[in-house]
Symmetry: C2
Subunit: 304 residues, 2 copies
């Protein structure tokens, strides 16, 4: 079983409007809602790839209830710790005949020290059976800034490998506890290390504690710096679609490859192909199987 942790679970709401114009009033043509937050999206992809997953993290309030109901409807096993605050929403506005999306991310509920302690106890029990632990996404207010360092340590104590997808201070703190893989995107990697050049930034994040770094480069694919070597994995062609879930698909595929003990070049090729298939799917967290198979044959993995 793979455990994905979503500390700041969200209800992802998508509005379709005719055309988005700042300072105007818009009639929303359609409203779609689903459970979100990066860890939940990773779990969705892992389940789609055939893995046993358990979604955990923090959820509360009426919005938390909607998140739990959507996870049940999707058949995703969840063991979320209840909190008093109401979960956040994210609102994504898409235009009817234009690519791209405008996102509004609420900060999330204030977590009390008691709720955080309950999560730690809960997770300690859960990771005893875990093949891997995924720590993904932003921290809600009230959670300690070194939250991911505590969770990485807790998973490693239980012998479970850890994949970390975080940003800013949460990423910097988390890598110090030695996650097996850190997966920043290029902007996050640069911000966390203060270094613009990809190779130097990856090396700096490894020196800080990450055992391997996989940087996602958008349409250019992935760059990995690992104990076994450095590779770049390039997608077959640029893929049109919804890039929101692309990073979560990369995390899911890297975790699946870690659990299966595949070689780094194989893991990276899988991750690029799964990501291309996720971009092709209309909703974050879904994967288009035909697009995966087509992409997987044509990914190029090269040393750098």
């Amino acid at each position: 079983m793979i455990v994905t942790v979503t500390l700041n679970a969200a209800l992802d709401v998508t509005y379709e409007v005719e055309r988005l114009v700042v300072d105007e009033s818009h009639r929303v043509r359609s409203v779609a809602q689903r459970a979100g937050g990066k860890g939940i999206n990773v779990a969705r992809v892992l389940a789609g790839l055939g893995h046993d997953v358990t979604v955990t993290g923090l959820a509360g309030g009426a919005t938390g209830e909607l998140i739990r109901a959507d996870l049940r409807a999707a058949g995703l096993p969840a063991a979320l710790v209840d909190v008093a605050g109401d979960c956040r929403r994210t609102v994504t506005v898409v235009q009817r005949e234009a690519p791209g999306a405008t996102l509004f991310n609420e900060p999330g509920p204030l977590i009390t020290p008691g709720e955080w302690d309950r999560l730690l106890r809960h997770l300690r029990a859960l990771v005893a059976d875990a093949a891997a632990v995924v720590l993904s996404g932003s921290l809600p207010p009230g959670v300690p800034l070194d939250a991911y360092a505590l969770l990485v340590g807790l998973a490693r104590d239980a012998g479970a490998p850890v994949v970390l997808d975080a940003d800013g201070a949460a990423l910097r703190a988390g890598v110090q506890a030695g996650p097996d893989v850190a997966k920043p995107n290029l902007a996050e990697l640069r911000a966390a290390t203060g270094l613009a050049e990809l190779g130097r930034a990856c090396a700096a994040l490894r020196r800080a504690g990450a055992r391997a770094v996989v940087a996602s480069l958008g349409a250019a694919g992935l760059a990995a710096d690992t104990a076994e070597g450095r590779w770049k994995a390039e997608p077959p062609l640029s893929v049109d679609g919804n890039p929101t879930g692309a990073g979560d698909a990369v995390v899911a595929a890297l975790t699946a490859g870690l659990v299966a003990g595949r070689s780094w070049p194989e893991r990276l090729a899988d991750a690029v192909a799964v990501s291309a298939a996720a971009v092709h799917a209309p909703l974050a967290g879904d994967v288009d199987e035909a697009a995966y198979a087509a992409a997987r044959e044509r990914v190029r993995v090269v040393p750098w």
Copy 2:
């Protein structure tokens, strides 16, 4: 008691962001929520002016519960008919250091014929004691297009005067039943009549059935076409602030003047002053009392 009807009640959510850029991702700095929909905002202003009000309309789902809870917290008596669907949200995005607002209005829940019948029975009982009835705002899906004509008729049968603030087909149908006052804004008036010139458009709406028409002209104030004469009421100076609730404040003041039997010039001067005070207040539905008193002394009402 004044009854305000909100068929498409909403939870009005306001997001503050640093700067709104289409196709980018935004961290929401603060989230504010309150019960909304035009009829509820009108009730808030009427209560602030010291009137006995009852909020009615349709509300359902988890969002409906949040609307009811906010009305209770505000001390606004509510008798809403429960529906199965979830009430809509509106999302208003404001930028930290810029005026203006970007609005996203969800369509609202699908109302069943049975729910609509329940509303009619409920309202028939409620208007027996009403000094006036306010019909305000959009229609949710499933409600008959001539909903406002039915409700105007129902109120008039009970001897209660009616103020109608609607748009498009709902306005065109509603005026045919002879409301005492119709309050479109200039764009709504032009769209409903197909006439660009203010005087001719007002006259056409009266011919269609409205006993009086008050058109709101934004910063230029109000224009009224009534059986007693035609007046324009001009605000003392342009008022900076949040214009979202200005039209609802006009409706509230016009209704209060109708109930009190004040002359049309008095009603219009009050309406412009209350509206200026509402624009001055940070949230739709609130009225700044000092701003009201200052504006009231300086409104000019002139025949046209």
